[in-house]
Symmetry: none
Subunit: 414 residues, 2 copies
């Protein structure tokens, strides 16, 4: 078995240290590399100040085999990574006409012209390979020196992520720097909490001391990852254990790999030749946004109605005003009527609805913050489920979306 | 004026490097400290392996004035931070009966008994002050040695956060280690790109070499942060520069601080006693989700209609089918009709609409991926704006949301 290279990841940006932006690069690159058996050994988050970049790059270059940097390749004056690293490594900066042409062409395609400050993006340290950027102006760089490898990536995730997956990972793999099959078996569950899940799987996994089990919960779905700690348990044996877990979990099992619940539900509907619509109150469009985030959802998702007033619930979804008066907007009865209304108005096979008190205000003793009803209507089916959710407004809404999708998923399994 | 201490934050945990968990400690502690003028200078994310903790702690202790560690104080075998750091600093581990009693009492209050492995949590390096943990068993530690300060915090956020706010921050402040007002002036722009923004502000900021300018772009809005590098420029002078930038930016200026565009638009509408509704095609609910993410939006946001089919556009929004046939769903005409339809159906003062090709499929030579129309209808106003967006499906949709909100914002400024 290959031993993984020692990788230092340097993520550069004041906004990370000021707590303004999450360090998504660590999450993304960590996962991508871990799946190829080469998780970063360390991540240094450093300010985009010249002295700090120099100090931390020198440290990482000394102590690691591969250094990956993110950020600081843009056109503005606080983009200094390229210059400083060239200086530390004693490399001249050369000019690439090819890069300038690509940047110029990119601006032209927007009916715009290249700014004078973009010119600096066409410089690269002597000896580096230029990794063209399909999504932006800052090229990546790949530089081998002194038996070590430096990979410099642009900061914006929409540029970094495709560059990493399409250009960096394949090259790392071709050069034998990665382990060639996923060493981690992963699957997802839905509708079971992390603690219950752990108890459920314990009898299967506990006897296998070599197996590392990692859970990661996302407000309704949980990722499960199994891997061999020592590398001595074969992948086939890890897979066999995963299969036992999955069988035991039955309908709590969502999917192999980490796909998320929405693609699973869309596939179920597509396979059945069925469609879906939504009626949203407390989630305000989030269920629709989840469906439509997936490319190709338009053959299944018909649309939805967001009703944030009682009048809209009546007029647009046909919820009887007597129901609203008798039970209130946050009620089982209204949730069912909303789902039925959306199903009818949007001519869909199924509809799901949400209505609840997302907070922080608006709670009463009878209907406290976190009380949510999720409704479903379909062929011969119409009911709602009451949820009592904990957490802030964002969490209540996110959980509601996942429960709504899970209710439909379980109906479609029947 | 105080100069901020050099702070190294060491966050310990394999799950961070495997991309399984976001580094929320950095976001939380970064923000808390930045607001007190003492943002961390660096964050090292390190594996919970003894050699790695030792190596990185030694590095941070050498190079900083304050070292904050998170994690590794629990009862299990991979909780080694306390032991390793005591060893590095050459300090004996002492036993605290007070901590053991507190842990024992905590278990008793759950009708449970303290496990034998919790005993190790009662040990502390000689000379350290124990910071009692109101939310869990692992106490924090505060240790001054060699003119430096070490703060060790437990890993779970629900333990770390209150401990930091209620016990650590007040003590740092009382000891004069923090600056008492925010040293960074921040504001946001909307509808101007990062490069254009930099060029625009350059004449104002360039002469001030002591001023650090940081930009952070979010697909339509850009955060701008000004601060004094040396601490020599007074906050009032930084503020004065910010005011000059803001004046020059005119309607590109969005807000003081980092609030995001949605709260700004909701406030504009609330102040005018007006309401809004949405008609969404390519964003599929995201604009509604943005409005409703803000607590208290229900007095302004009426609801919306998500139409993912032509039939729904006609039936629910009243878009004439002749328009759909003549110009297609992705057109200026249909965007305007969608906005007008939503405004009428939801009885709102304003409505905004989105229709476009989010990709990756569905593009044609006439209507390529990234072509989006954003419509607006209001008192005496109805028009649409064509966008030609780059990026993947997620980016196209996110940018569309921000442009839609920005169009409304600019209308409301008139």
């Amino acid at each position: 078995m290959n031993t993984a290279p020692i990788i230092d990841l340097i993520t550069i940006g004041d906004e990370l240290l000021l707590g303004l932006t999450r360090n998504g690069h660590l999450t993304y690159l960590g996962e991508q590399l871990a799946f190829r058996g080469a998780a970063p050994n360390r991540n240094i988050v450093c300010r985009d100040e010249a002295g700090e970049i120099r100090r931390n790059f020198e440290l990482a270059w000394r102590e690691s085999e591969i250094v990956i940097t993110t950020g600081g390749l843009g056109p503005t004056s606080d983009d200094r990574t390229r210059d400083i690293i060239a200086e530390v490594l004693g490399l001249e900066l050369l000019y690439s006409q090819e890069v300038e042409d690509a940047i110029r062409e990119r601006f032209r395609s927007f009916n715009s012209t290249m700014g004078v400050n973009n010119k600096k993006q066409a410089f690269y340290p002597a000896g580096a390979d230029i990794i063209m950027n399909a999504q932006g102006t800052a090229p990546g760089l790949w530089l081998e020196k002194d038996g070590k490898l430096l990979i410099m990536l642009p900061g914006p995730p929409r540029e970094l992520n495709p560059m990493f997956e399409n250009q960096i990972l394949p090259r790392l793999s071709a050069e034998g720097r990665l382990v060639d099959i996923a060493q981690i078996i992963s699957f997802q569950t839905s509708g079971i909490g992390e603690s219950s899940l752990e108890l459920e799987l314990d009898p299967i996994l506990n006897p296998h001391k070599d197996i590392n089990v990692a859970f990661c919960a996302h407000y309704g779905t949980v990722d499960v990852r199994l891997s061999s700690i020592s590398g001595e348990t074969s992948l086939a044996d890890v897979q066999e254990l995963a299969a036992q877990c999955i069988e035991k979990l039955d309908h709590h099992f969502l999917t192999h790999g980490i796909r998320g619940i929405t693609p699973v539900v869309l596939d179920q509907l597509r396979d059945a030749g069925q469609t879906v619509a939504v009626a949203e109150s407390c989630t305000g469009g989030m269920v629709g946004a989840a469906f439509t985030a997936i490319a190709g959802s338009s053959d299944v998702f018909q649309g939805g109605i967001i009703t944030y007033t009682n009048q809209a619930k009546s007029e647009l979804l046909g919820v009887p005003s007597e129901l609203l008066e008798a039970y209130g907007a946050v009620s089982e009865q209204v949730a069912v009527a909303m789902a039925e209304g959306a199903r009818e108005k949007l001519h869909s096979t199924w509809a799901i609805s949400t209505t609840g008190v997302a907070g922080p205000g608006g709670g009463t003793p009878e209907k406290p913050v976190g009380m949510v009803f999720v409704g479903i209507a379909g062929p011969g089916v119409a009911f709602a489920k009451q949820l009592d959710l904990r957490g802030n407004r964002g969490i209540v809404r996110e959980r509601t979306v996942n429960v709504a999708l899970d209710i439909l998923r379980r109906q479609l399994l029947k």
